[in-house]
Symmetry: D2
Subunit: 151 residues, 4 copies
């Protein structure tokens, strides 16, 4: 669908600064495959921990939302107007107080909606700590092109 | 189901300090009705804003998760072991850069699971900016009693 | 948003015949209030029961999906092209082998998306057996008008 | 976790007869891998079609719910008391009027909750028509053993 794919690394860098939640998480892109498939890492710090040394749910949700957002942008370009309309998260097991790894892929990339899926892992573990699906409303094409051209 | 209800105000104060995400949000309980129905306010600051002056999605998700958690504790006491297993959020409209108000109620309070519903508003507005349902796994009763007794 | 509201009763009758799942459920509209708020009844029969005399989950999901669909059509007219994009259901308690009552309202009615909320009850009971939110993608306005005009 | 895995084929046959929704769908198990991973087929008939020749949403939801249920039973045995507590579905594209294929796997198998994930395809197609996650409450172990022993 996209004429070319955009670099997740650059998109992440471009947008992170303006979003304090995500800037604090210090998210980096570790791998990118065609079609929006990404691996991202969030550096978990004291601010993200809950009593007992586990990572907070909102931290996991923030990373998942961000991972899908950046995945979509790799396909449609650096538009600011892709907005989350639905996010569903299943918490699967207690996270360790380690970095979080997000493995994201796109289930659908339509003209008006994109839907992504993310598994979140504690760094170094095999079983995910959470699974997320998210729906994003995409800007009309003409507007998207205009913004993309402006960047 | 509960022998008595607990004060949402006190529960919120007791748990907030240990949870940085929520401590930063500065959540207060504004009203409490029987059965877990609560009205809560989050003081939105610069850290919670996105470009364009809207409140970030993770801020809204954090507030919703917290509101259901505290609502459940008003019914079962100050246990730390109620854990979110599922959260579903529909984003309905763009929030204003104002405080957020959460109106929460419980859809189910079983022995093993509780399910709550939250509508989130920009302070002073009539239409919600988001609607959330969340499922929480409750600790076995004996363990819950033990913890409650310890507080 | 709508210039006028359409009759849920007529919309339900018009569309039901072409949808076997729903025709079998024998859904009727019992009450309609402004803004898409409806009360609907499904006549539960042997085909909708599970062992132990409870109503099947798919029956409840079918009713909820239908209730939101008809609620949206009361606001935008009899378009066939409103399609479900997301449905989230929480099952709250075991239904009795009685008729089901759906109480539906709209959380959002935008130009491109509508989001509805439904509580499902066993007839005669106070506590809901299920709670559902659903998102629907709406046809572009010009197309919607054309279809509506054709009916 | 399971001492041995059960045959999805037999479990499906055992339970289907008592569930009219599913008996009508004529679901068969086509492949089974360790850990609850299954491929199932539903024979779509006139009763499952919507105007325009597409498969109805409730048909897809019924198949997904059933697929996760049977997947869980392959791990814990033929208990009747695993009940759906949450189901989230994203509809991705319009199904063809063909058989549906469900590819299911388990995201979590705990003592009290199991969570599964299903992708649904129109037979012969590469892109899924829907993606579903579902949460199931499991019976306490002693009771599960009793029932399993009774079968």
């Amino acid at each position: 669908m996209a004429m070319r794919e955009f670099s997740a690394q650059e998109l992440n860098a471009e947008f992170t600064d303006s979003v304090p939640d995500i800037a604090n998480l210090n998210v980096t892109v570790e791998a990118q495959q065609p079609g929006g498939r990404l691996r991202m890492r969030a550096r978990v710090g004291q601010n993200n921990l809950r009593p007992g040394g586990t990572v907070s749910g909102p931290t996991i949700m923030a990373l998942a939302d961000w991972a899908i957002f950046i995945s979509i942008l790799t396909q449609i370009g650096p538009v600011e107007m892709a907005v989350t309309t639905n996010l569903n998260i299943n918490f699967l097991k207690r996270p360790q107080p380690n970095d979080l790894i997000a493995e994201v892929s796109l289930l659908k990339l339509g003209r008006r909606l994109a839907i992504g899926e993310v598994s979140i892992f504690s760094d170094g573990e095999d079983q995910p700590v959470a699974h997320v699906t998210g729906t994003y409303s995409l800007p009309p094409v003409s507007s998207a092109s205009a913004v993309a051209a402006g960047n």
